[in-house]
Symmetry: C2
Subunit: 347 residues, 2 copies
Amino acid sequence: MRPTVHDIADTAGVSLATVDRVLNDRPGVRGVTKAKVEAAIATLGYVRDVAAANLAKSRVYPLVFILPAGDNPFMRGLEAEVRRAGFHSAAERTRLSVVPVPAFDAAALVAAIDGAVADQVSGIAAVAVDAPEVAAAIGRAHAAGVPVVTLVSDLANSGRDHFVGVDNVAAGRTAGSLMGRFLGNRPGPVAVLAGSMRVRDHRERLDGFLATIAEMPVGRAVLPVLEGQDDPKLSLSLVSGCLASTPDLAGIYSLGAGNQGLVAALADRTDLCVIAHELTAHTRAALETGIIDAVLNQDAGHEVRSAIRVLRAKADGLPVIAAQERIRLDIFIKDNLPAGPDEDDNN
Amino acid sequence: MRPTVHDIADTAGVSLATVDRVLNDRPGVRGVTKAKVEAAIATLGYVRDVAAANLAKSRVYPLVFILPAGDNPFMRGLEAEVRRAGFHSAAERTRLSVVPVPAFDAAALVAAIDGAVADQVSGIAAVAVDAPEVAAAIGRAHAAGVPVVTLVSDLANSGRDHFVGVDNVAAGRTAGSLMGRFLGNRPGPVAVLAGSMRVRDHRERLDGFLATIAEMPVGRAVLPVLEGQDDPKLSLSLVSGCLASTPDLAGIYSLGAGNQGLVAALADRTDLCVIAHELTAHTRAALETGIIDAVLNQDAGHEVRSAIRVLRAKADGLPVIAAQERIRLDIFIKDNLPAGPDEDDNN
DNA sequence: GAATTTTTGATGTACGTAAATCAGAAATTT
DNA sequence: AAATTTCTGATTTACGTACATCAAAAATTC
């Protein structure tokens, strides 16, 4: 059996109360005694039974996820994963809530962050909008002792404790690399459909993509970026216009959330090389019909669970194992699509 | 706060003892009373606090992982993940142990399974060797009430409770599909390097690969399978021989664990399209230098944690959520390689 | 050496569940 | 209606930790 606090008390020759004082950093222990206890802990290899500790503490960790509202399928997927995690995380004494804010609205995001701090939550996860007032709000939360992680899109120099998301430059490079390989020596320019260049993750993906295309031995032109605002209708018209004006178009990289419009514009044109982001109902269907050739995906479930782990660790003052919290970039083609639309693993 | 057993007792108008009897399927409860309790559970939305329950039970779950010995990097990775999971799973009252057996040795595997059953473990995870005596041993374990999951390579008709691993036919199809796209209309045959055709997962991968190649509009020859027995030296010589005798070779699909030999044989030939399985030190390095173009990977950490969850659920008589336990097939190219060699997430 | 402060011990309660015992109530059978 | 069986209630202990209280011991100061 694992050693308990009683075993420590016995081998250290002190009372249970003293062990408790050492373990929980309570005052009133001489240095000598503390050392004795710590030695006993080390020799016995004691590790606190977190389940029992949490039970005794009956502490709950209210965590808030601030997510963009609207019909962005990826964000809705994130929200679904939060709910799913909330269902399972009751045992871990975590209480999750979702606060929707208008997309790209810095003021609303600031209000939501300040509100969460006022509510005394133990942690905040937010999809950051790249604005100085948001960085200031995150700074205030951090100063108030509330850990903050940025989700999906980062905000450097904001005092956020951690970023949960993929390396978006690498994502862009991956898209460029696949595009190059799939096209081979087929001629023609490629187009890029983004949401907005004011969003950091979109900018980073574009940078990576352009860099990889530029490095290729086959020179290939990249048309000016189409900014569809992640809106289905606008994306549809932009892509349609591009198709009409560029008959020799070879491929499209859709790095934002405008895939519904993209797929609508392409109809049944399977001759183009199309690479998109995030596995949703639309992209999945388009992969299966051959309209889209590859989908790059960040697993919403993994991100949510990573955010929860990080926030809990921060709330407890524990270290975060960076390597363990790295979010992978998944590549999906028609043949390795996961089975269900609601696939996920709790791994 | 979450409802507790006391709340159920109150709203159902019964005693704590009766609630306990219903919750733990103990005898001595009339159908009417049981229904009352279950109604209370439903209306209150009670969920058992597993942490408290495990604490009270002070039950431990000894689980055994039976893995092939030897220097197969993927198997060693699996073992490392078991150790890592064991470190974290102390809180979940799971005790993990690894039993190494000679690779492809059915008799040794049978002995290990029977030994685990004799040791009264609560669950067995084993990399199955495709032999009738192994199926029989698994059947004995199952009959003795010990749940068994097959890991990586399945064994149908054996009475195993669950299979933890990827869909290997889909893996082969993915490899074929990528190979076709990467090669485009470049002519030349492709070679296949396998470990052994007597292993089920290798056969399945080959089937998927051949089917996809055959479906392609561009006719492409596949050379006879090279069986390298997952041995570096044998694989090296087989691939070298193939390269010498087939100057117009366009690509190689390595579906087993012979990648060290494969990479050695290819030296610095980056002109071939090479697709391999499992992200190890060798395949990672070869991806980075361009010798290998894509690596298909099953995440050892995910598999181990899935196996643990499934075995615990089976041991407790709980249902397994199949969708949650599906293992994904990762595609890695140079650009989306995860950062560290010991990358992993506990998600 | 007395008075004070600091450190330690002893003890109890709590968290939510499991599991056992024993008495009493209700249902069933005779 | 009595005897029996089946069901239910009340109560207790335990799991490993957290946390509080009060007394006792040790160290420190005056």
